[in-house]
């Protein structure tokens, strides 16, 4: 255990193929209670960064700590505190919503009673309760996404990493998710979220990190973001006048 809470990514580099840097010295910190958004084009390295933080990949250089645990050495302990929502939900298609939640509870070590209670509360809050016994293979994209978020939150993680969580959600669910993320941040959870929807990031983030060609080009506080005219304007400006990466 090296530091307390949150996410710390220090000078992380990663290559899928030799001589092709997907991440080149990326540095990012997310404090407990903070919601950081990551903005970048396709191929900028967002998903790779998130997979590194989840411990699914190992960096070639640099260090990563999640909830105070260093990766990959203390991966299991970090996983116990990490909630991960990938861009494609990791659900079991042949199980119902309740069965999925039960299975995830087993995999993340949540005892039966709290798992049942939290699952019911989650399904009611996401309006999935009437469909709780239907097999997930019959769910729409938005329903699967809501369930996937529930599975990621079941063990009450202190760090939450969400890759495109707004994908497939209708406006009601998207607004509800914004509210939920703000609530989690207020409760002390460190959140890292990527999205291609500028207005969603504008509405929720405390800080915005711009990722371009494997580097964090800049990070803006909420005040700076709003003063710059929001995520869309920041992105346009970054494309027109690329800035040197942060040290």
């Amino acid at each position: 255990m090296t530091s307390s809470g949150g996410i710390e990514v220090q000078h992380v580099s990663f290559q899928y193929a030799r001589d092709v840097d997907v991440l080149a010295g990326a540095t990012l910190r997310v404090q407990p209670g903070e919601l950081v958004g990551v903005l970048g084009l396709n191929g900028a390295g967002k998903t790779t960064l998130f997979r590194l933080i989840a411990g699914l990949l190992e960096p070639r250089a640099g260090s990563i700590t999640v909830a105070g645990f260093s990766l990959p050495r203390e991966r299991r302990r970090a996983s116990e505190r990490l909630g991960w929502v990938p861009d494609e939900p990791l659900l079991y298609p042949k199980l119902s919503a309740l069965e999925n939640l039960n299975r995830f509870a087993l995999l993340w070590g949540v005892p039966a009673e709290p798992a049942k209670r939290r699952s019911q509360a989650w399904l009611e809050a996401t309006e999935l309760w009437p469909d709780r016994h239907r097999l997930v293979e019959e769910y729409s994209r938005g329903m699967r996404q809501r369930l996937a978020i529930g599975c990621a939150l079941l063990h009450e993680p202190s760090v939450l990493v969400m890759d495109e969580p707004f994908n497939g959600l209708d406006i009601q669910s998207a607004l509800w998710l914004r509210e939920l993320l703000r609530q989690r941040a207020a409760a002390g959870v460190a959140l890292l979220v990527s999205s291609h929807q500028p207005e969603a990031l504008d509405a929720i983030v405390d800080r915005l990190a711009l990722l371009d060609r494997g580097r964090i080009q800049s990070t803006l506080s909420r005040a700076e973001l709003l003063a710059s005219g929001g995520t869309e304007q920041v992105f346009r400006a970054s494309q027109a006048h690329p800035v040197a990466p942060e040290p």
Partner: protein, 389 residues
Amino acid sequence: MIWWRLAVWEARNALRELVPRRWLRRSLAGAFALAELAFCGLALIVPLPERRALDLGTLSGLFAMNLMLSSALAALALSRLVAAPRQLELTRLSPLGAARGVWLALAPALIAGSLPLTALLLPFALVVARQAPVTALGMALTAFAILAWGLLIAVAAVNEVVARWGRARAAALLRSWGALLPLALVLAFKPLVRVQAPAAAPLGLLLASPLLLPLIWPRVAGRFLRALGAQEQLAGSAREPRWGSPGWARELWRTLALRTLLAPVTLLLIAAWRPGAWPALLSLSLIFIVMVPLGQLLAPEWRAPDRLRLAPYAARYRLRLVSATGGGALAIALLMALLLGWSRWRWLAAEGLAAALAVPICLLPQRTLRGIGQLLISLVAVAAIAFWN
């Protein structure tokens, strides 16, 4: 002929999936092509055997095997289409039309899969072509005709099943009994496969095929596309889970139910038809009893491997899965082996060892390795019948 080029292109894609590494694929293809050229060259220059010595029996055996393999692959491709009809959405939207579209969807598996045996057959066919060109031509045309009719009958049968029982059940039925389709096809066309005289028997078929197939196939394919395109409300639902329990038995029942019920029936039917095959069937079945449930429960984990890689209690979960499902299935297989092979101790030992080894093989994360391992262990199980008597 753009649709034919598309089919070849799709077949190349299928090969790419099968052997992802380009250098390996090219090396294999190069070696394969060289060997084929050498064999074909040899077939063209070797002195012709006496007409009487021409082994048409061997040739028709290879021919039948090729047909069986092709139709097995077609059945597999068909079951995949029925299970995941979204693959056909592009076909439905494209201007290709139903006849070509459905053929295009089935062609990759057919072309890629039947290539090895076709290559093996080709040098023999060349020798026959030199000595008895009419027979060779008759066999080649018969092969195409049988395959085309077989495909047509299979698609028509699937249409009927989908219309009667719905797409989901049709997919389950195909998954369960699809493997028997090639056997049925070969049995149905048995007289034609054994070409002993210059294409006398299939003359009617050869004449009827170019006249009837272009008329019937578009209708059957069109109905197939329409049947798979229809929205079907699946009735899949589950009861409240027992919290804290993984519920594997329930998941297994849900995914395996039909197959589990049909497998013993199939086994008994084959055993009744060929009693001599009983020891081999039994040996193979015992291995499947171990491999199928584990494979079925691990399939979603292989499709989304990140889940178990992320989960902090994945090792405990996996151990529980192996001990409960793998151990349980192994115990059932061993008990059955003991009951049915009582006093054949050496066979029991060999079969038990193979069944026990099947469990760790099912856990291999690499699909190719796992497939090779499962094939090898099945062969070992079949070889164990040497100890039966």
